[in-house]
Protein backbone atom coordinates (compact mmCIF):
# COMPACT_ATOMS: atom_id res chain seq x y z
CA UNK A 1 0.00 0.00 0.00
CA UNK A 2 1.46 3.38 -0.99
CA UNK A 3 1.87 5.73 1.94
CA UNK A 4 1.39 9.31 0.70
CA UNK A 5 4.44 11.52 1.11
CA UNK A 6 2.35 14.36 2.53
CA UNK A 7 0.35 14.70 5.73
CA UNK A 8 -2.71 16.95 6.17
CA UNK A 9 -1.89 20.48 7.30
CA UNK A 10 -5.34 20.99 8.80
CA UNK A 11 -7.27 18.61 11.04
CA UNK A 12 -10.94 18.83 11.91
CA UNK A 13 -13.42 16.84 13.98
CA UNK A 14 -14.52 14.60 11.09
CA UNK A 15 -10.91 13.60 10.43
CA UNK A 16 -10.19 12.83 14.08
CA UNK A 17 -13.45 10.90 14.39
CA UNK A 18 -12.66 8.76 11.34
CA UNK A 19 -9.10 8.09 12.50
CA UNK A 20 -10.32 6.99 15.93
CA UNK A 21 -13.04 4.78 14.42
CA UNK A 22 -10.78 3.17 11.83
CA UNK A 23 -7.28 4.39 10.90
CA UNK A 24 -7.57 2.59 7.55
CA UNK A 25 -10.69 4.52 6.55
CA UNK A 26 -8.86 7.72 7.56
CA UNK A 27 -6.02 6.70 5.25
CA UNK A 28 -8.38 6.03 2.34
CA UNK A 29 -10.37 9.26 2.74
CA UNK A 30 -7.89 11.83 4.01
CA UNK A 31 -4.50 10.56 2.87
CA UNK A 32 -5.45 9.07 -0.50
CA UNK A 33 -8.43 11.43 -0.96
CA UNK A 34 -10.79 8.64 -2.05
CA UNK A 35 -14.54 9.03 -2.10
CA UNK A 36 -17.47 7.65 -4.05
CA UNK A 37 -18.32 9.75 -7.11
CA UNK A 38 -21.29 12.07 -6.91
CA UNK A 39 -22.75 14.34 -4.29
CA UNK A 40 -24.26 12.99 -1.08
CA UNK A 41 -27.91 14.04 -0.86
CA UNK A 42 -27.58 14.30 2.91
CA UNK A 43 -24.57 16.64 2.80
CA UNK A 44 -26.07 18.73 0.00
CA UNK A 45 -29.44 19.04 1.72
CA UNK A 46 -27.86 19.94 5.07
CA UNK A 47 -25.51 22.46 3.50
CA UNK A 48 -28.30 24.19 1.50
CA UNK A 49 -30.53 24.29 4.59
CA UNK A 50 -27.72 25.79 6.71
CA UNK A 51 -27.07 28.47 4.08
CA UNK A 52 -30.79 29.24 3.96
CA UNK A 53 -31.06 29.64 7.72
CA UNK A 54 -27.94 31.84 7.75
CA UNK A 55 -29.42 34.03 4.99
CA UNK A 56 -32.68 34.25 6.94
CA UNK A 57 -30.87 35.33 10.10
CA UNK A 58 -28.86 38.00 8.29
CA UNK A 59 -31.99 39.35 6.63
CA UNK A 60 -34.13 39.32 9.78
CA UNK A 61 -31.72 40.21 12.58
CA UNK A 62 -29.12 42.32 10.80
CA UNK A 63 -31.00 43.94 7.90
CA UNK A 64 -34.23 44.06 9.95
CA UNK A 65 -36.54 42.75 7.24
CA UNK A 66 -39.94 41.37 8.30
CA UNK A 67 -40.17 37.57 8.58
CA UNK A 68 -41.83 37.00 5.19
CA UNK A 69 -39.30 39.10 3.29
CA UNK A 70 -36.43 37.42 5.14
CA UNK A 71 -37.92 34.03 4.25
CA UNK A 72 -38.04 35.04 0.58
CA UNK A 73 -34.39 36.06 0.72
CA UNK A 74 -33.52 32.72 2.37
CA UNK A 75 -35.53 30.80 -0.23
CA UNK A 76 -33.57 32.53 -3.01
CA UNK A 77 -30.34 31.46 -1.31
CA UNK A 78 -31.47 27.83 -1.03
CA UNK A 79 -32.59 27.67 -4.67
CA UNK A 80 -29.32 29.20 -5.84
CA UNK A 81 -27.24 26.86 -3.65
CA UNK A 82 -29.25 23.79 -4.68
CA UNK A 83 -28.21 24.48 -8.27
CA UNK A 84 -28.53 21.67 -10.76
CA UNK A 85 -28.41 18.84 -8.22
CA UNK A 86 -30.91 16.05 -8.82
CA UNK A 87 -31.56 13.21 -6.38
CA UNK A 88 -34.12 10.46 -6.07
CA UNK A 89 -34.25 10.47 -2.28
CA UNK A 90 -37.78 9.82 -0.91
CA UNK A 91 -37.86 12.87 1.35
CA UNK A 92 -34.85 15.13 0.66
CA UNK A 93 -35.46 17.46 -2.28
CA UNK A 94 -35.27 21.17 -3.07
CA UNK A 95 -38.96 21.48 -2.16
CA UNK A 96 -38.53 19.83 1.25
CA UNK A 97 -35.42 21.91 1.90
CA UNK A 98 -37.55 25.04 1.42
CA UNK A 99 -40.26 23.37 3.49
CA UNK A 100 -37.79 22.68 6.30
CA UNK A 101 -36.79 26.36 6.30
CA UNK A 102 -40.40 27.53 6.47
CA UNK A 103 -41.28 24.96 9.17
CA UNK A 104 -38.20 25.90 11.22
CA UNK A 105 -39.10 29.58 11.21
CA UNK A 106 -42.72 28.73 12.11
CA UNK A 107 -41.53 26.52 14.98
CA UNK A 108 -39.01 29.07 16.26
CA UNK A 109 -40.55 32.47 15.38
CA UNK A 110 -37.56 34.80 15.39
CA UNK A 111 -39.29 37.60 17.27
CA UNK A 112 -39.81 35.31 20.29
CA UNK A 113 -37.04 32.76 19.79
CA UNK A 114 -35.08 32.21 23.02
CA UNK A 115 -31.98 31.82 20.87
CA UNK A 116 -30.74 34.76 18.86
CA UNK A 117 -27.51 35.34 16.95
CA UNK A 118 -24.78 37.33 18.66
CA UNK A 119 -24.44 40.69 16.89
CA UNK A 120 -21.48 42.90 17.75
CA UNK A 121 -20.39 46.01 15.85
CA UNK A 122 -22.82 45.24 13.01
CA UNK A 123 -21.33 41.76 12.62
CA UNK A 124 -23.65 38.79 12.95
CA UNK A 125 -21.91 35.67 14.17
CA UNK A 126 -23.47 33.14 11.83
CA UNK A 127 -21.44 30.56 9.87
CA UNK A 128 -18.61 30.83 12.39
CA UNK A 129 -15.36 29.50 10.86
CA UNK A 130 -11.99 29.12 12.52
CA UNK A 131 -8.57 27.60 11.94
CA UNK A 132 -6.29 27.67 14.98
CA UNK A 133 -2.68 26.52 15.43
CA UNK A 134 -2.00 23.48 17.59
CA UNK A 135 1.15 22.77 19.61
CA UNK A 136 2.10 19.99 17.18
CA UNK A 137 4.28 20.58 14.15
CA UNK A 138 3.63 19.20 10.69
CA UNK A 139 5.95 16.23 10.11
CA UNK A 140 7.11 17.56 6.72
CA UNK A 141 6.85 21.36 6.72
CA UNK A 142 7.50 21.87 10.46
CA UNK A 143 4.69 24.47 10.48
CA UNK A 144 2.12 24.23 13.33
CA UNK A 145 -0.79 21.97 12.44
CA UNK A 146 -4.14 23.76 12.36
CA UNK A 147 -7.44 22.67 13.87
CA UNK A 148 -10.47 23.87 11.86
CA UNK A 149 -14.14 24.13 12.69
CA UNK A 150 -17.29 25.67 11.31
CA UNK A 151 -20.62 25.94 13.08
CA UNK A 152 -23.92 27.53 12.24
CA UNK A 153 -24.11 30.31 14.79
CA UNK A 154 -22.69 31.84 17.91
CA UNK A 155 -25.89 32.69 19.73
CA UNK A 156 -27.24 34.27 22.86
CA UNK A 157 -29.56 32.01 24.88
CA UNK A 158 -32.37 33.68 26.84
CA UNK A 159 -30.67 37.02 26.36
CA UNK A 160 -27.74 36.20 28.60
CA UNK A 161 -25.27 33.36 27.99
CA UNK A 162 -23.38 32.71 24.78
CA UNK A 163 -24.02 29.39 23.06
CA UNK A 164 -22.72 27.36 20.14
CA UNK A 165 -25.70 26.67 17.86
CA UNK A 166 -25.81 23.95 15.25
CA UNK A 167 -28.77 22.73 13.23
CA UNK A 168 -28.89 19.08 12.17
CA UNK A 169 -31.21 17.80 9.47
CA UNK A 170 -32.07 14.14 9.90
CA UNK A 171 -34.43 11.45 8.68
CA UNK A 172 -35.95 10.97 12.12
CA UNK A 173 -35.74 12.30 15.65
CA UNK A 174 -36.04 9.23 17.83
CA UNK A 175 -36.03 9.10 21.61
CA UNK A 176 -32.25 8.77 21.68
CA UNK A 177 -31.48 11.50 19.13
CA UNK A 178 -30.58 13.96 21.85
CA UNK A 179 -28.17 11.63 23.63
CA UNK A 180 -25.64 11.51 20.84
CA UNK A 181 -24.42 15.06 21.45
CA UNK A 182 -23.52 14.77 25.14
CA UNK A 183 -19.85 14.08 24.55
CA UNK A 184 -19.62 14.84 20.82
CA UNK A 185 -16.09 16.11 20.19
CA UNK A 186 -17.28 18.24 17.27
CA UNK A 187 -19.07 20.59 19.67
CA UNK A 188 -16.34 20.61 22.30
CA UNK A 189 -13.96 21.68 19.54
CA UNK A 190 -16.36 24.47 18.56
CA UNK A 191 -16.49 25.62 22.20
CA UNK A 192 -12.68 25.69 22.28
CA UNK A 193 -12.53 27.61 18.98
CA UNK A 194 -15.09 30.19 20.11
CA UNK A 195 -13.25 30.70 23.42
CA UNK A 196 -9.97 31.27 21.57
CA UNK A 197 -11.73 34.17 19.80
CA UNK A 198 -12.88 35.61 23.13
CA UNK A 199 -16.31 34.02 23.18
CA UNK A 200 -16.42 31.62 26.10
CA UNK A 201 -19.72 29.79 25.77
CA UNK A 202 -22.05 28.45 28.45
CA UNK A 203 -23.50 25.65 26.38
CA UNK A 204 -24.13 24.06 23.00
CA UNK A 205 -27.63 24.12 21.51
CA UNK A 206 -28.35 21.45 18.90
CA UNK A 207 -31.57 21.83 16.94
CA UNK A 208 -32.74 18.81 15.01
CA UNK A 209 -35.11 19.02 12.05
CA UNK A 210 -36.47 15.72 10.80
CA UNK A 211 -37.52 15.54 7.17
CA UNK A 212 -40.53 13.24 7.09
CA UNK A 213 -42.87 12.18 4.30
CA UNK A 214 -45.73 14.04 5.96
CA UNK A 215 -44.01 17.06 7.40
CA UNK A 216 -41.19 18.07 9.69
CA UNK A 217 -40.24 17.34 13.28
CA UNK A 218 -38.27 19.52 15.68
CA UNK A 219 -36.13 18.86 18.72
CA UNK A 220 -33.73 20.96 20.73
CA UNK A 221 -31.09 19.78 23.19
CA UNK A 222 -28.82 21.92 25.32
CA UNK A 223 -25.49 20.44 26.40
CA UNK A 224 -22.85 21.87 28.70
CA UNK A 225 -19.21 22.19 27.76
CA UNK A 226 -17.43 23.12 31.02
CA UNK A 227 -13.77 24.06 31.04
CA UNK A 228 -12.60 20.64 32.27
CA UNK A 229 -14.35 18.96 29.34
CA UNK A 230 -12.73 21.31 26.83
CA UNK A 231 -9.30 20.69 28.40
CA UNK A 232 -9.85 16.91 28.30
CA UNK A 233 -10.98 17.12 24.65
CA UNK A 234 -7.91 19.11 23.69
CA UNK A 235 -5.58 16.67 25.43
CA UNK A 236 -7.30 13.77 23.65
CA UNK A 237 -7.15 15.58 20.30
CA UNK A 238 -3.39 16.11 20.61
CA UNK A 239 -2.86 12.46 21.60
CA UNK A 240 -4.88 11.32 18.59
CA UNK A 241 -3.00 13.59 16.19
CA UNK A 242 0.33 12.31 17.52
CA UNK A 243 -0.92 8.78 16.81
CA UNK A 244 -1.93 9.89 13.30
CA UNK A 245 1.59 11.15 12.67
CA UNK A 246 3.16 8.00 14.16
CA UNK A 247 0.90 5.87 11.96
CA UNK A 248 1.83 7.93 8.89
CA UNK A 249 5.53 7.47 9.68
CA UNK A 250 5.00 3.75 10.25
CA UNK A 251 2.93 3.40 7.07
CA UNK A 252 0.59 0.78 8.51
CA UNK A 253 -3.02 1.97 8.85
CA UNK A 254 -4.84 -0.43 11.15
CA UNK A 255 -8.32 -1.68 10.29
CA UNK A 256 -11.21 -1.65 12.74
CA UNK A 257 -12.75 -4.89 11.40
CA UNK A 258 -15.73 -4.24 13.63
CA UNK A 259 -18.78 -2.02 13.98
CA UNK A 260 -17.12 0.95 12.20
CA UNK A 261 -17.31 -1.15 9.01
CA UNK A 262 -21.11 -1.32 9.15
CA UNK A 263 -22.24 1.87 10.89
CA UNK A 264 -24.30 4.43 8.95
CA UNK A 265 -25.26 1.90 6.29
CA UNK A 266 -21.73 0.56 5.84
CA UNK A 267 -18.32 2.15 5.44
CA UNK A 268 -17.83 3.63 2.00
CA UNK A 269 -14.57 1.68 1.69
CA UNK A 270 -16.13 -1.73 2.43
CA UNK A 271 -15.57 -2.88 -1.17
CA UNK A 272 -11.84 -2.26 -0.78
CA UNK A 273 -11.49 -4.01 2.58
CA UNK A 274 -13.58 -7.03 1.55
CA UNK A 275 -11.41 -7.65 -1.50
CA UNK A 276 -8.14 -9.55 -1.58
CA UNK A 277 -7.15 -7.18 -4.38
CA UNK A 278 -8.49 -3.74 -3.39
CA UNK A 279 -6.63 -2.04 -6.25
CA UNK A 280 -9.09 -3.65 -8.67
CA UNK A 281 -11.90 -1.62 -7.07
CA UNK A 282 -10.17 1.74 -7.14
CA UNK A 283 -12.02 2.70 -10.34
CA UNK A 284 -15.21 2.90 -8.28
CA UNK A 285 -13.75 5.86 -6.38
CA UNK A 286 -12.62 9.33 -7.34
CA UNK A 287 -9.81 11.35 -5.80
CA UNK A 288 -11.01 14.54 -4.13
CA UNK A 289 -8.83 15.84 -1.34
CA UNK A 290 -10.72 17.16 1.65
CA UNK A 291 -10.19 20.75 2.71
CA UNK A 292 -11.51 21.44 6.22
CA UNK A 293 -11.09 25.19 5.72
CA UNK A 294 -12.96 25.17 2.43
CA UNK A 295 -16.49 24.22 1.54
CA UNK A 296 -18.37 21.94 3.90
CA UNK A 297 -19.21 19.64 0.98
Amino acid sequence: MDNPSSFPAVIDSSMRSQFVACPHSFFRRYMQGLQRPGTSVHLHFGSCFADGIAAFRRAFYLDRHPTDIALGIAAAEIIRRWGTAEFTHPTKSLETCLGALEAYVAHYPPATDHLKPLIQDDTIHTEFNFGLPLPIRHPVTDEPLLYAGRFDMLGVLHGTGKAIVDEKTTSQLGDTWGNQWRLRAQFTGYAWGAAEFGHAVDCVVVRGISILKRGFGHAEVIEQRPQWMIAEWKDQLLRDIRRMIATWKDGHWDKSLDSACSSYGGCTFLDLCTSEHPDRWMGDYEVSHYDPLGSVE
Binding site: G72, I79, W82, L98, G99, L101, E102
Partner: protein, 69 residues
Amino acid sequence: MSTTNPDPLAKARHLNDLRQRVLAGEDIPPEEYREIIADIRQTRLAAAAAPVRPKAKPTKLNPDTLEPL
Protein backbone atom coordinates in the same frame (compact mmCIF):
# COMPACT_ATOMS: atom_id res chain seq x y z
CA MET B 1 -55.65 32.08 6.40
CA SER B 2 -56.89 29.47 3.94
CA THR B 3 -55.51 25.98 4.43
CA THR B 4 -56.43 24.59 1.02
CA ASN B 5 -53.64 22.38 -0.20
CA PRO B 6 -52.27 23.84 -3.47
CA ASP B 7 -52.03 21.47 -6.42
CA PRO B 8 -48.74 19.64 -5.67
CA LEU B 9 -47.90 19.12 -9.36
CA ALA B 10 -48.46 22.78 -10.20
CA LYS B 11 -46.33 23.73 -7.19
CA ALA B 12 -43.51 21.42 -8.25
CA ARG B 13 -43.63 22.82 -11.80
CA HIS B 14 -43.56 26.37 -10.48
CA LEU B 15 -40.56 25.63 -8.28
CA ASN B 16 -38.69 23.84 -11.05
CA ASP B 17 -39.40 26.69 -13.46
CA LEU B 18 -38.13 29.18 -10.89
CA ARG B 19 -34.98 27.14 -10.33
CA GLN B 20 -34.27 26.98 -14.09
CA ARG B 21 -34.64 30.75 -14.33
CA VAL B 22 -32.33 31.26 -11.35
CA LEU B 23 -29.74 28.95 -12.96
CA ALA B 24 -30.09 30.87 -16.22
CA GLY B 25 -29.13 34.04 -14.34
CA GLU B 26 -32.53 35.72 -14.60
CA ASP B 27 -33.23 38.51 -12.12
CA ILE B 28 -36.16 37.12 -10.15
CA PRO B 29 -38.55 39.53 -8.39
CA PRO B 30 -38.50 38.92 -4.59
CA GLU B 31 -42.28 38.38 -4.60
CA GLU B 32 -41.83 35.14 -6.52
CA TYR B 33 -39.72 33.65 -3.75
CA ARG B 34 -42.26 34.79 -1.21
CA GLU B 35 -45.03 33.13 -3.26
CA ILE B 36 -43.13 29.85 -3.16
CA ILE B 37 -42.79 30.11 0.60
CA ALA B 38 -46.50 31.01 0.92
CA ASP B 39 -47.42 27.87 -1.09
CA ILE B 40 -45.18 25.75 1.11
CA ARG B 41 -46.69 27.23 4.27
CA GLN B 42 -50.20 26.54 2.95
CA THR B 43 -49.27 22.91 2.28
CA ARG B 44 -47.88 22.51 5.80
CA LEU B 45 -50.93 24.07 7.41
CA ALA B 46 -53.28 21.96 5.29
CA ALA B 47 -51.40 18.80 6.27
CA ALA B 48 -51.54 19.79 9.94
CA ALA B 49 -55.28 20.48 9.72
CA ALA B 50 -56.10 17.23 7.90
CA PRO B 51 -57.63 14.55 10.12
CA VAL B 52 -55.28 11.67 10.79
CA ARG B 53 -56.79 8.44 9.51
CA PRO B 54 -56.48 5.69 12.10
CA LYS B 55 -54.41 2.77 10.92
CA ALA B 56 -56.47 -0.33 10.22
CA LYS B 57 -55.76 -3.10 12.67
CA PRO B 58 -54.71 -6.38 11.05
CA THR B 59 -57.50 -8.95 11.16
CA LYS B 60 -56.71 -12.05 13.15
CA LEU B 61 -57.15 -15.14 11.03
CA ASN B 62 -57.80 -18.72 11.89
CA PRO B 63 -54.51 -20.37 10.85
CA ASP B 64 -56.33 -23.49 9.59
CA THR B 65 -59.14 -21.95 7.57
CA LEU B 66 -57.65 -18.47 7.01
CA GLU B 67 -61.10 -17.14 7.92
CA PRO B 68 -61.33 -14.08 10.17
CA LEU B 69 -61.66 -15.06 13.82
